[in-house]
């Protein structure tokens, strides 16, 4: 496939699984429904060689419905291109499927996204805090988390 860009093959093949596709800053973007996530990512990995899972994070669009947007990034070490997959989930049930079965590295990244934004990953058995600590209440990267709210583990000394 000399000369052809890798996206030329991926985009039409997977467009039926997406609500919308676009190219932003050289990254192919799939905006999808949450239900299509596993089917899309499995084909990205098995058929199109996106073998490296870069990250999963979330965006809190406070005031919009659905409130959260979950964003995944994948990289192809063969074609040296990136793909972004994003989907919207509601505040009442911020649940998406876990990618642990496809990418082992998703295990830790989903833990971080879970503690920071409160996104639940169905299929990840271990969603303990990874950067925060046990007993931390709330999700600090949500826009409605009070900016200077502290949850100290050591009781503060009395002011002198």
């Amino acid at each position: 496939m000399a000369g052809a860009h890798p996206f030329d093959r991926v985009r039409p093949a997977l467009a039926p699984l997406a609500r919308e596709t676009s190219i932003a800053h050289g990254v192919l973007v799939f905006a999808i429904e949450p239900a299509n996530l596993l089917a899309l990512v499995r084909r990205l990995k098995d058929e199109f060689g996106f073998d490296l899972f870069l990250d999963v994070t979330a965006v809190d669009w406070l005031g919009q419905t659905p409130r959260f947007e979950v964003v995944w990034h994948f990289y192809s070490t063969q074609h040296k291109v990136r793909v972004r997959v994003k989907t919207r989930v509601a505040e009442a049930d911020p649940t998406v499927d876990s990618l642990v079965a496809l990418y082992g590295s998703a295990r830790f990244m989903e833990r971080e996204c879970h503690e920071m934004y409160g996104i639940a990953f169905r299929g990840n058995a271990d969603l303990r805090p990874i950067l925060l600590y046990e007993g931390f209440v709330g999700h600090p990267l949500r826009k409605d988390y009070p900016k200077q709210h502290e949850q100290p583990l050591v009781p503060y000394r009395a002011a002198e």
Binding site: L131, L132, Y133, P140, Y145, K147, Q148, H149, E150, Q151, P152, L153, V154, P155, Y156, R157
Partner: protein
């Protein structure tokens, strides 16, 4: 050319002169302690680079007797908290401080240890004095080595002025 040098005899006869000095106990102990600080570097962040600079030869904290880092809190008497302390890290810092034997002093090295610096958020402890007492604050992000040396010298002055009970709380 032969110099006419007066030398102090090594095995001199006891003449009764200069065989006793008188001083105050606290001044003597304070003088000894202020020149034998054994720091424990509790290093968590980028201020470590300045800690290395101030420990190295050009600035040389050994001139103040504070060069030999002890990596056990039980052998050290100066806790240098170098860098940001998070809430998750705070119990560890408290445990290290509790394991140090008296007398002990704490130096807050840099803006983060002093006040949390620009980390006013869910993760960072806004100053280590929220959990342990601090003797000297060295501000700066990071502080220059001269500021750290000034902090050590201020701590030395403080130690020299302190009471130093050695047998009981009254003596």
């Amino acid at each position: 050319m032969k110099m006419d040098r007066k030398t102090i005899p090594i095995a001199h006869e006891k003449s009764g002169a200069f065989e006793f000095i008188s001083t105050k106990k606290d001044e003597l102990i304070g003088w000894a302690r202020k020149f034998s600080l054994f720091p424990y570097p509790f290093v968590t962040a980028c201020c470590a680079m300045e800690f290395m600079a101030v420990s190295g030869t050009p600035y040389d904290t050994d001139r103040f007797g504070a060069a030999l880092p002890r990596f056990s809190p039980r052998q050290s008497d100066l806790l240098m908290v170098v860098g940001t302390i998070t809430h998750k890290q705070a119990p560890i810092l408290l445990k290290v401080w509790e394991q140090m034997c008296e007398p002990k002093w704490v130096l807050a090295f840099g803006a983060c240890a002093t006040s949390g610096g620009f980390y006013q958020n869910y993760a960072a402890l806004p100053g280590i004095d929220k959990i342990i007492p601090v003797d000297v604050y060295v501000p700066g992000c990071p502080p220059r080595p001269e500021m750290v040396i000034d902090g050590i010298m201020q701590l030395q002055d403080k130690i020299a002025r302190q009471r130093h009970p050695i047998l009981t709380k009254d003596f």
